[in-house]
Amino acid sequence: MSMLVFLEHHGDELLKGSLGVLSKAVALGSADVAGVVMGFGVRPLAEQAAKCGAVKVYVADDARLEAPLPQPRVDVLARLIREKGIETVLFGNSVLAADVAAGLAARLEAGLNWDLADLVRQDDRFVGKRPALQDSVHVDVGWKSEPRIALFRSGSFDPVETGGSADTEDVTVALEDFSTSARMVDQAHEEGEGPSIEDAAVIVAGGRGLGGPENFTLVEELAKALGGAVGATRAVVDAGWYPYSTQVGQTGKTVSPKLYIACGISGAIQHKVGMQSSGVIVAINKDPNAPIFEFSDLGVVGDVHEVVPKLTELVKARKGS
């Protein structure tokens, strides 16, 4: 029952998401869980994987793997999986991991189940647990052949340090021409200091429903009245309305304030994974069918331009009294 976990890194650290998936693989009871790290100068990362229970770490260390681009990684993985006869390949979701997993699925004609919240063994087969259609239904999914590829929803598992050591093995890096034709010109580096929203007890977040960058004052004023911070969706960050440092979600921050007020936010799954563990969630959206209402404690079907300023005044009045 060989399992391979895709270990993604940023700088000198393996990602928490990857290590969480590794811990999950170990918890499934497989005796030979392996990890694979790919990049340039990444050999020392193997140790971090060993701490979370990998007994073997494959290392692909090559300058052509330095940029976090998917296609060269598909080449390396496809060869490794075929050579070692690996049966199950696990990925923690990320922009990079999703593209690698899907490219690999095509290359190996292998089944890919995505957005899994869990993986269990039932009657000698693997069953993936997938919340689907805005989490309105839970689906048990499986694989008809090997290798099986699983892509887990961000934040599904926490890393568990069990200690231990791992054998490392260098793997061949032979790349296809088309895999190396996209080129990283400027790689993301941590953006400068912004307001810290991770520790805020209250977050008021704005989305595209605000209608324009100028309307962010509405959420800023409500946040100020409640003594909280301002959050944003990717849609408005990409559009340049608000800084990336305030983005909540899969490619932004994961937050769990006591109170999260979502203003004009649809509630896409990639946003949800960043805020679903908030204590109380209030949503204001004019579309009664917006997915955000499925995971709000209080949902208000209304216009943010009406409701938010009124709420700000009421909060101020209450605090003032």
Binding site: L69, A102, G103, A106, G111, H138, D140, A188, R234, A239
Partner: protein, 257 residues
């Protein structure tokens, strides 16, 4: 530049799974996947910036996808290729990417655009599988896309901020829903759409072996469906002018103000 845009027909409104077939219930009205409107818009802009070239829509889906293709034609696309076949139902990533790659191969476009995700499957993965089959470079999550001198420059967001990536043509790019504001079709566009070339292809016409499509061609399967645990004590109200007060009362009750 010849641009192919992959567009999907998705159920209108809230999707549900048919408990009998364990497949998505596609019986209702079909809509153009909203995220794909961004890909169509970007293709139109690239075409119109140079004043030459062609935008071809490619879709795999049931007969209803015709209506959806007509909507995208009304936005301004030049023609549509609809891969439609009873036996393609239930295709997973492996089967879908194979069929689409076959249709795209035939077009030989310089640029192949995808939307950010299918609203019903939320996969956000298909492009990478198609690009691998076509042996073309792929870049996803494009928030900005520029084309100059046969080369694309893409700005995209990852977990760490913004990357800038360059890729030569031909290439596959998936755009984010923040890349542009899709236009509404004009009346002229709607009228004109009816006379634009719309081709329907069977799997056989694309030389796709039946065992590589639909359920036989898929490598994943669905075992069971269940209801998610109900969220305790969730309330929803319509704003009748008093919603702000209702929110305040709720926050007070939870001791949050």
């Amino acid at each position: 530049m010849k641009i192919a845009v992959c567009v999907k027909q998705v159920p209108e409104g809230n999707s549900r799974i048919d408990p009998g077939t364990k497949r998505l219930d596609r019986s209702g009205e079909g809509a153009l996947n909203g995220f794909d409107a961004n890909a169509v818009e970007e293709a139109l802009r690239l075409r119109d910036a140079t004043g030459e070239g062609e935008v071809v829509l490619v879709s795999l889906g049931p007969a209803k996808a015709q209506d959806v293709l007509r909507k995208a034609l009304a936005m301004g696309a030049d023609r549509a290729v609809h891969v439609s076949d009873e036996t393609a139902g239930g295709s997973d990533l492996v089967a879908t990417s194979y069929a689409l790659a076959k249709a795209l191969e035939r077009e030989g476009a310089d640029l192949i655009l995808f939307g950010q995700q299918a609203a019903d499957s939320d996969g956000a993965v298909l492009w990478a599988a198609v690009a691998d089959r076509l042996r073309l470079p792929v870049v996803s999550q494009a928030a900005e896309l520029t084309h100059a001198g046969g080369k694309l420059t893409i700005k995209r967001q990852t977990e760490f901020g913004y990357d800038v990536i360059e890729a030569p043509l031909p290439a596959v790019v998936a755009v984010s829903d923040a890349i542009n504001e899709p236009r509404y079709p004009s009346l002229k566009g709607i009228m004109g759409a009816k006379s634009k070339p719309q081709e329907t292809l069977s799997l056989a016409e694309l030389e796709i072996e039946p065992e590589r499509a639909g359920e036989p061609g898929s490598r994943t399967e669905v075992y069971a469906l269940s209801d998610p645990p109900a969220r305790a004590d969730s309330r929803k109200i319509d704003d009748d002018g008093n919603a702000a007060q209702a929110i305040l009362d709720f926050l007070a009750e939870k001791r949050l103000v």
